[in-house]
Symmetry: C2
Subunit: 142 residues, 2 copies
Amino acid sequence: MKSNVEKPSVSYLLIHICKARMNRTNKMLGAHGLYAGQDVLLYFLGQEDGQTVSSLAEKVSIRQATMVRMIDRLAAGGFVRKVKDNEDRRISRIFLTKRGKTAADAAVSVWKELERKATAGISPEEKETLRGTLGNILKNLQ
Amino acid sequence: MKSNVEKPSVSYLLIHICKARMNRTNKMLGAHGLYAGQDVLLYFLGQEDGQTVSSLAEKVSIRQATMVRMIDRLAAGGFVRKVKDNEDRRISRIFLTKRGKTAADAAVSVWKELERKATAGISPEEKETLRGTLGNILKNLQ
DNA sequence: AAATATTACTTAGTCGGCTAATTAATAGTG
DNA sequence: CACTATTAATTAGCCGACTAAGTAATATTT
């Protein structure tokens, strides 16, 4: 975690990459009325509509409380509908609206473009090595 | 950005690594009364005391507005003192308290431990390759 | 010297995260 | 059947991050 004269640590690089990526994501998603974070939710809804709050929270890897608020905001923005389940009235099921579906598609485009941009000039072999190493780091931290 | 059957994208790995690292950082810093983000500020103050709000914001790579609030919270927690400059009364200068100095040292320990943990089982050569590739990705995104 | 920038910081409001504590509905148990 | 978990969602409150708009002090310019 430093970058003066000494070589930047892996952590330093990772943090700044994530920050830069987040900034770009926010700007690009902003054109579609979205904030970074909401994109992932819409994507998983696109994969399977009508999921529960808790199931979505788990897939997106955030807390239920965070998910609830995110859903309410997206519902207020017309991206999503929230419907109480009749079998089990504790459960709310979330559905994509037409607008939400469009936004989900846009989000995937944004991801693809950023992945392309981020890994520009990196050979397939180097990328494969990178994926391997990053996979190990992820395991180490989880 | 997906991880089903297909290989996870570089972006997916980076995002989840950062998230996992952030969670660990928060837990470890919590033991010292800190939140992730504050550590970086304290570190830079440790390098040079009495810096201005804007200078700190630039070094930490966050907006001034964010820095102001962070400083005010750290001041409320007794980690830092905020003093109006007498030469130019627009400027506030930030100083580490004894408690802040201790916390800054703790933060550096946390970073080192996490860097060690994250890169465990990764050879020096692999790490060097990784740093190179990550450096290129960072450039691509900035 | 007075009007006009510019600079440094501040405030208000929005988001995504988190934890902890509540509420409401269902499932289980004595 | 009534009492007690457990589960699903919600609320409140705290962080870090952002933008946009505002204030106060210093510099510039006319």
